[in-house]
């Protein structure tokens, strides 16, 4: 990457300027990770303690039904959320790319959700999805008695309701990234393909999409980190309910860190989540660095 190279060959003022960032990374991030790791092997409750209980917290964690359910929810949510965001974001980008009229307005409309806090928009989604005051109630009021849309109160479907709201929020970002990618395709390629009489869909499939690999990978990394962090949407929409049906790992950690005063178990869960994040994101980062190395 050009910026990295500049930093490497740069003189000492550049390095000095980067020092605060490096210190933050080492002390705040690495230090906190090591601290959490240490606490996860202790019997700490409200306060960190020096005790050592080996892997006991991890054993307890993986015997905990709510933790396992949280992981399962995260997997279902992650797959659906990432695929739906990529697909919808790509379609929106295509739409805007083809229909240049009103592009500014449309782009703002699609990007707007991303600028909003989920604590606010999640509450609105919770109202809309609530069967007695939201979409279902409107359907009934219009005379469609058999209409049912009660996913948010259905323990078996509630996670899909959260996917809908989260996709609404993040698809615009994917659109913006992919639109930039679409626009960077060389205009000469388009002209050449037109002259050869190749149909538009074929140009997209065979020429444009393969060139968007980098944009897709960037979007995927951003989406995957959003998956791991999933917390505010759940808190705002369902608080993990009905029952424990929409619990997610980040909420498990927060609940045990504060309300349940068990920072050892919370730390063990954090470490597991960190490992999951590394496992999910590293293939993409690896692929990207390979691509960058080839490009250089």
């Amino acid at each position: 990457m050009p910026t990295a190279r500049a930093a490497r060959s740069g003189s000492w003022p550049a390095r000095l300027a980067l020092l605060p960032l490096a210190l933050t990374a080492v002390v705040a991030y690495l230090g906190s990770i090591l601290w959490s790791l240490r606490v996860s092997f202790s019997a700490s409750r409200t306060f960190p303690s020096d005790s050592w209980v080996g892997a006991a917290q991890y054993l307890r964690l993986f015997a905990n039904e709510r933790w396992l359910l949280s992981l399962q929810n995260l997997a279902v949510y992650g797959v659906l959320f990432v695929l739906a965001c990529l697909l919808l974001g790509f379609l929106l980008a295509l739409l805007i790319d083809r229909q240049v009229a009103g592009e500014g307005v449309l782009r703002a409309v699609f990007l707007y959700p991303y600028a909003m806090s989920f604590i606010a928009s999640g509450a609105v989604w919770a109202w809309m999805l609530n069967p007695i005051q939201g979409v279902e109630a409107v359907g009934h009021a219009l005379g469609w008695e058999a209409f049912r849309f009660d996913w948010i109160v259905d323990p078996d479907r509630v996670i899909y309701a959260i996917v809908i709201a989260a996709v609404w929020q993040a698809a615009g970002l994917v659109m913006a990234l992919l639109l930039a990618g679409l626009r960077s395709v060389d205009a000469d390629l388009w002209r050449a393909a037109r002259i050869d009489g190749i149909p538009t869909w074929r140009i997209y499939v065979s020429i444009v999409i393969p060139q968007l690999g980098y944009s897709f990978a960037t979007a995927a990394i951003l989406l995957l980190t959003a998956v791991i962090k999933l917390y505010d949407a759940v808190v705002a929409m369902t608080q993990g309910g009905p029952g424990t049906a929409s619990e997610v790992p980040a909420k498990f950690i927060m609940d045990h860190l504060y309300g349940r005063a068990n920072i050892a178990l919370a730390s063990a869960a954090s470490v597991m989540l960190l490992l999951t994040a590394i496992a999910l994101v590293s293939p993409f980062l690896y692929a990207r660095s390979r691509a960058a190395a080839r490009g250089a």
Binding site: I33, I132, I152, V153, G241, G243, T244, A245
Partner: protein, 419 residues
């Protein structure tokens, strides 16, 4: 971004969020007045009015009250613990009268108020359920402010009239009959907010009233696996689950005060909730006995579950701070303060020697009930660690919301309550 670093970072943020706020200078010429920074979570309408009465009483006693209100009980306690651990504690911190602050005691981070307790004869005046929590190994570590009863059964008189229910239910059978009639009248029988703590509160109401005192203590205090596997406890679980069939479709996730609003507007008949709902009725200009009824429990000997709030005093070497803490403990437990506070909060005083005639009908009933010590039962969080309590809550809310065989629930409860 690892969650691990995030959570640690939020702990650190908690530390810095608790930096001291500007402290008003003591009044000149009168010597340093005791200054107390009090951290609490009483921010809602009635709560804020109640805490103002404490502040006024403290000022009248010659102290300076500086208010640090943080919305959300859990959030407030998290900030308090971060500040105490970081060596910058407030003068006093609000906790529920429960094991929530026992870890702080174990770490030697709290000061005692033994002198105040001895001078005011807390041993005689406080109900045993409160005394057992604030007194640890003979030392008093908290000044109790009030008593809440979490498991009242409230009903809308208008809804009962519309459903043709003439008499207040006096047993679970009569309650179910009333719920059936409410449903037949096209009303929501049970107004319930489907959040885990509210599901658990309904469970405790059934355990106390149907299971009775002995079973309640065997399950929650002794965590006795035999009691949890007993037929009597199984009946408690089945009755709890039966109540679920009377809630409406919009129940999951609903806030407790939205459920109370359904009683206020007579769209629903019954709600099982703590006495803080009285603030909602009062805001809607409804009065106990006229617009709504309150049932403390079924039968002559129904247990009265005791929950409450208490101030604890983080350890300090500064004699001025200690003086401020002693004064605060004295003031918040004084009879006049207790009464003024509870009238606004919807609770009842912790002291047995307060004249209840200025309280509302339900509170007067509660004070009378409390005289019978055999009816007093501590809330579950007095016996269980927050962690055990949370694990139990997970099992029960899952049972309430899904079809789980009752035997499985019994097994899971045994596991949840094990160490």
């Amino acid at each position: 971004m690892g969650r691990a670093s995030k959570t640690t970072a939020s702990l650190l943020v908690g530390l810095f969020a608790g930096m001291p706020i500007a402290m008003p200078a003591p009044p000149p010429n009168t010597g340093p007045a005791p200054h107390a920074e009090v951290l609490h979570w009483w921010t809602a309408g009635g709560e804020a009015a109640a805490v103002r009465s404490l502040a006024e009483a403290y000022r009248d006693a010659g102290g300076v009250w500086s208010d640090t209100a943080i919305a959300g009980a859990e959030q407030a306690r998290a900030v308090a613990i971060s500040r105490i651990a970081g060596g910058n504690p407030p003068t006093a911190v609000l906790f529920n009268t429960s094991r929530q602050f026992h870890d702080l005691v174990e770490q030697g981070l709290l000061d005692t108020v033994d002198d105040v307790a001895r001078r005011n004869d807390w041993e005689r005046l406080l109900p045993p359920a409160i005394l057992d929590v604030v007194r640890i190994r003979g030392h008093y570590y908290a000044a109790p402010v009030n008593i809440h009863m979490p498991t009242w059964i409230w009903y809308s008189k208008a809804a009962f009239t519309r459903a043709g229910i003439a008499q207040e239910p006096r047993s679970f059978e009569e309650l179910f009959a009333a719920l059936d009639r409410l449903r037949a009248a096209g009303l929501v029988p049970l107004a319930h907010g489907g959040q885990p703590w509210q599901d658990n509160l309904v469970f405790r109401a059934v355990l106390a009233n149907l299971g009775g005192r002995e079973l309640y203590l065997q399950v929650l205090r002794d965590r006795d696996a035999r009691a949890i596997h007993s037929d009597a406890f199984r009946r408690v679980l089945l009755t709890f689950k039966r109540l679920h069939s009377y809630v409406d479709k919009g129940s999951p996730g609903r806030n407790w005060n939205d459920a109370t609003a359904m009683l206020v507007t007579a769209r629903a008949g019954v709600q099982i909730m703590g006495d803080w709902v009285k603030a909602e009725f009062a805001t809607a200009h409804q009065a106990a006995g006229r617009d709504y009824g309150c049932i403390a429990g079924f039968g002559e000997h129904a247990p009265y579950v005791i929950q409450g709030d208490a101030f604890v005093f983080p350890h300090s070497r500064d004699p001025q701070t200690v003086r401020a803490q002693q004064l605060l403990a004295t003031v918040v437990t004084a009879p006049a303060t207790q009464l003024a506070f509870s009238i606004r909060k919807g609770s009842i005083p912790v002291r047995a020697d307060v004249d209840p005639s200025s309280l509302d009908l339900c509170s007067q009933m509660a004070v009378a009930l409390l005289r019978d010590r055999s009816r007093q039962l501590p809330n579950d969080e007095v016996f269980l660690t927050p962690d055990q309590n949370g694990a139990m809550a997970d099992v029960l809310t899952n049972y309430w919301n899904r079809d789980v065989p009752v035997e499985q629930v019994q097994q899971k409860l045994v596991a949840a309550l094990a160490d």
